[in-house]
Symmetry: C2
Subunit: 318 residues, 2 copies
């Protein structure tokens, strides 16, 4: 495998899906009668909360790390992240038997620090600013020769994330709509590519908290927009799009729907109570937007990617 230098085609997505198989779970797709009746349509939940490290991020980290040649690989891989991407890169390195260097902000939740450390990664703490993260990462990379794996603005990562939608459409080919939440856009752009190649008639929608609606505005303006605030409960969706992800989203995503904070919490609780599965606030956003726009989904078959299940049980919103 070689790193991808342009938007991956279907053959490259399928090759990636096959290559990462040993490093990930094929996750199940669940449905729920109560939620279907509530919506007036059928929702197919692709359960990436059951994925290795508890989130879809394992797919992209596997894809990117497996594409390194032996020489690059031996110096290890690195990233900056306070969330699921950190654990995914750490586990990818552990499986491959190479070092991982993870730059984390000092104020990262202890549970995420412990999770990352449990996969054997070396953690380098920095001040909790974007600038400190990037500077510290540059120092680490310069000192160790480790390869930086960007959390989303990277075609290898995007091709990995696309494998969730490939699996979903293998299991349920006749969907009308596929939805994914959008933060940096790695999952949404990968999903949009996979769906476009397999069936361009299926509509791809993004879902985003109204408080950090940069992707909604970026899709309207055509350029990367910033967020004025980041205080959403959907902690995985606080980042803005990248150049590569925006480009793909502009081509293949029809619309970004947005949800209020209380709608996100309510949708999260509905999934916990009715489906008996634990999901992060970030992946409740698609259902929140579905419930706020029922007419769009009535009578339709909608696939929704549940992105992860890493939640601090001691700090729940209900």
């Amino acid at each position: 495998m070689k790193p991808l230098l342009s938007i991956p085609n279907l053959a490259e997505l399928k090759f990636t899906q096959d290559a990462i198989k040993t490093m990930i779970h094929r996750t199940p797709v669940l449905t729920n009668q109560y939620l279907n009746e509530l919506v007036g349509g059928s929702i197919y939940f692709k359960c990436e909360n059951f994925q290795k490290v508890g989130a879809f991020k394992m797919r992209g980290a596997a894809s990117a790390s497996l594409r390194l040649n032996t020489d690059t690989m031996k110096n290890g891989i690195a990233t900056h992240s306070s969330g699921n991407h950190a654990q995914a890169v750490a586990r990818a390195a552990q499986v491959l038997g190479i070092p991982a260097y993870i730059v984390m902000p000092k104020n990262a939740p202890e549970i995420k620090v412990e999770g990352t450390r449990s996969y054997g990664a070396e953690i380098i703490f920095c001040e909790p600013t974007q600038n400190a993260r990037e500077t510290t990462l540059a120092e680490v990379v310069s000192k160790t020769g480790a390869h930086f794996i960007h959390p989303y603005d990277n075609y290898d990562v995007i091709a990995g994330q696309a494998s969730a939608a490939l699996e979903l459409l293998e299991d349920f080919p006749s969907l009308d709509i596929v939805m994914a939440p959008v933060g940096g856009g790695g999952l949404l752009s990968g999903t949009a590519l996979a769906v476009h190649y397999l069936n361009p008639n299926i509509i791809v929608l993004g879902a985003e908290p109204k408080r950090v609606d940069d992707a909604y505005r970026s899709l309207k303006s055509g350029q990367i927009e910033q967020n004025q605030r980041t205080d959403t409960i959907a902690d995985g969706l606080r980042t803005t799009l990248g150049e590569l992800t925006l480009d793909i989203i502009k081509r293949h995503v029809t619309e970004i729907l947005t949800a209020e904070e209380d709608e996100i919490i309510q949708a999260m609780r509905l999934i916990w109570e009715r489906m008996k599965i634990i999901i992060e606030p970030s992946c409740a956003v698609p259902l929140a937007t579905i419930l706020a726009n029922k007419e769009t989904f009535r009578g339709k078959k909608t696939g929704v990617i549940l992105t992860g299940g890493n939640v601090d049980l001691g700090n729940l919103p209900f």
Copy 2:
């Protein structure tokens, strides 16, 4: 189908399994690498938290209600319960298009009352004592002609609960041990029968909170023992064994293991955090006893029935 008047044989269990298929889900069996490493053996979790009404009780209620003849059936079915059996009987009646009368103590949690009502059952409230429950139920039965479905001390119910273990062993025939929690003993006795018929070399163990260890003591003394206290977090396991369930448990269950309250809460949290699924405190008891007796389970393949996922999210122990 006719009501069962003696301990069901394998043909009767299989006939029941087939008969109730349209009223229940075939639930998945999940494993978790972290928990397997923690135990030093393999645990196969049969996920009845994903069952209809969120608990295995749907199996027994389906079995018992489907065995009624048309004349008995038209007057409806009745029970007293403040828990999962109430919802299971209510839903069985709804599916069959017959009335359901559920006697519930005045202080039953609002969420359980709402759940039962949502299936269209008529709820009759009574004082929160065993005597009031039984008297009120007798009045309801006498007035309506409804058929009483006992929550556990009933061969039809036991045959229904046995179907969970039949499915488990169809999926994983080469288990060494099968475990179920024990309250009234409907699930444990059904499980023990199914396992005994399919492979008598598999050891069947019960699991019970130490605070309500009546089954542990009953298995030792050979007669039904009472509990001095019922204040365990495992609210589904507060009842004592019945004559029919004790008889089967004495024949086919090797041992009952017990767990402290903090061990139960810790095991529950482990399953939530690592498996990303929501389970009731009652079904964390087997894992709690496994972790307290690792030497028994090291190198073994153990099936564990996760009984249900109906939890008040506003009142968690962590």
